[in-house]
């Protein structure tokens, strides 16, 4: 299977692989997917007092496109407010990475991962209204 050069670049040089302390009040963690489906993404965001995402990390079990999708969104969310990050759509991810139709679900999963991380952060800090 031929991968786009964008996918290969993110796969071979993934951005922001790693973990943040999930117990930290300023960290939101999203865990989506299922091992039985062959994709699991864990995406974490660290949010500053102004409600801006100052750091993001990911770990992904999945194909090259799933790894690339999660790597890309960690780059995109950094410096964005939670609201801005919440508007990222899977179609933008798919377009940026030139994903073929059979790999669209990878971009959907990445969108779900951001939303889950934001939701987790908000349950920790319900007062944060940004």
């Amino acid at each position: 299977m031929a991968y786009s050069k964008e996918v290969v670049d993110h796969y071979e040089n993934p951005r922001n692989v790693g973990a943040l302390d999930k117990e930290d009040e300023s960290v939101g963690t999203g865990l989506v997917g299922a091992p039985a489906c062959g994709d699991v993404m864990k995406l974490q965001i660290k949010v500053d007092a102004a409600g801006v995402i100052e750091d993001a990390k990911f770990k992904t079990f999945g194909c090259g496109s799933a790894i690339a999708s999660s790597s890309l969104v960690t780059e995109w969310v950094k410096g964005k407010t939670l609201d801005e990050a919440g508007t990222i759509k899977n179609t933008q991810i798919a377009e940026e990475l030139a994903l073929p139709p059979v790999k669209i679900h990878c971009s959907v999963l990445a969108e779900d991962a951001i939303k889950a991380a934001i939701a987790d952060f908000k349950t920790k800090k319900p007062s944060t209204d940004v």
Partner: protein
């Protein structure tokens, strides 16, 4: 080995290293040399009876038929040339079913058979045949008790492959053959991965029909054979109708050069089988030893009852397709069918009872006649590097290291 020796060896390795010998094998250069004149000088139609070109080609094809027959202990008159194992399997299964179908309409096969066997059976099911798909044990082998329990007076054919294409396990062919002979049921074996690799004798093993593929045993693609027993006679309804070649069982002009290639490949395989297998086993063991310090690595399928040129390994917590992408210096394949646009992992591994999540992490490694020790060492090194890297990137590996039971998590299916 010193660093200096290593660097001298490295330039000999051509990347990517071919480790997919169950998908296909290169044509052995010895086979190629024998075939070449049959394309250009000895090119006659083997069915031409009126001139020397035809007689010469016929002689070459008949010599090849004898070489194929000799490999499996058959009579040359029992060998039908075909385009490959898919055609042989179709001809054997549908041919027997259609010839004897008005008397007996039950066929027994196995869940882990190649798709062309399973699909031929599905096709017959639609025509009103009853098919039993035997389960396999966790090691990939069938239980003879299951076969005995499934057989009835209505059973016309048992079709069980000799060596599995994904996991390399060797089914108990002689025992199945003895059972079928006693019950007067025809026994077909798909030996695409077995012929020329393990000793096969149609008489000692009571095999009635056997499919052979050229390009799995260092002959070219596009040629195969079907062994059809003469005593006691097995009759087939042909799929290809036409000039009545191959004693009416497979019409169409024989591809002389390809038949010659298959024959030569069978002769070399027979001659070299013991030494080839000893070499393959040594390389396989070297490979396994090199990977033995990787935790949570599982071999799928029985390691003893197995053709030594195959390994199917699950690297837990690393998804197979990302592993293949990482191993770009190795030409290997994923046991997981994810690569073919479906999210379903291998039905063969599923039949073994391998967890879906584990089936998603499997890689098939095929070692063959031209694999070298240097290539194995390089493969071991590159696998080590990428397993470490991909596990560092795996949320599942992280959770397991933290002592979390993955089965306790409520996953969101998508």
């Amino acid at each position: 080995m010193s660093e200096a020796t290593k660097s001298q060896h490295r330039p000999n390795i051509k990347l990517p290293i071919y480790l997919d010998y169950q998908a296909t094998t290169p044509v052995d250069p010895r086979v190629m040399d024998i075939m070449l004149p049959h394309f250009t000088e000895k090119f006659g139609n083997p069915h031409s009876r009126t001139h020397a070109y035809g007689w010469e080609a016929e002689g070459a094809v008949e010599k090849a038929r004898g070489q194929v027959a000799h490999l499996i202990g058959a009579d040359p008159r029992e060998i039908v040339f075909t385009s490959g194992a898919t055609e042989s399997n179709n001809l054997a299964i549908k041919g027997v079913a259609h010839f004897y179908g008005d008397q007996r309409k039950h066929i027994i096969t196995v869940q882990t058979e190649h798709k062309c066997v399973l699909d031929s059976c599905r096709h017959l099911e639609q025509e009103g045949f009853e098919i039993t798909y035997l389960p396999v044990q966790p090691n990939g082998l069938i239980r003879l008790e299951d076969l005995a329990a499934a057989a009835t007076d209505n059973t016309v054919l048992v079709s069980v492959m000799a060596v599995n294409n994904e996991i390399g396990v060797i089914q108990p062919i002689a025992e199945i053959g003895a059972f079928c002979r006693e019950r007067k049921i025809f026994f077909h074996t798909d030996a695409a991965q077995a012929a020329g690799k393990i000793p096969l004798d149609v008489n000692a093993m009571n095999i009635d029909l056997m499919s052979i593929s050229g390009h799995k045993l260092y002959a070219p693609m596009g040629i195969g054979a079907l062994y059809v027993r003469r005593k006691p006679r097995v009759r087939l309804q042909a799929i290809m109708n036409g000039g009545g070649q191959e004693r009416g069982m497979r019409s169409g002009t024989l591809p002389g050069p390809l038949c010659v290639g298959l024959g030569a490949a069978c002769e070399f395989a027979e001659q070299d089988m013991a030494s080839d297998n000893e070499r393959l086993r040594r390389l396989r063991d070297r490979f396994l030893k090199g990977l033995s310090d990787i935790p949570e690595l599982y071999i799928n399928g029985d390691l003893e009852q197995r053709f030594p040129g195959n390994l199917n390994i699950s690297f837990a917590y690393i998804e197979g397709e990302s592993m293949l992408m990482a191993l770009k210096d190795l030409a290997v394949s994923s046991g997981s069918a994810c690569t073919s646009a479906s999210l379903e992992p291998s039905y063969v591994l599923r039949a073994l009872g391998v967890d879906v999540e584990m089936a998603h992490t499997s890689i098939r490694i095929g070692i063959g006649r031209f694999t070298t020790e240097d290539e194995i060492d390089y493969a071991v090194k590159t696998i080590h590097e990428h397993v470490d890297r991909l596990r560092e990137m795996s949320p599942l590996w992280e959770m397991v290291q933290d002592g979390i039971d993955l089965k306790s998590i409520e996953w969101t299916d998508h």
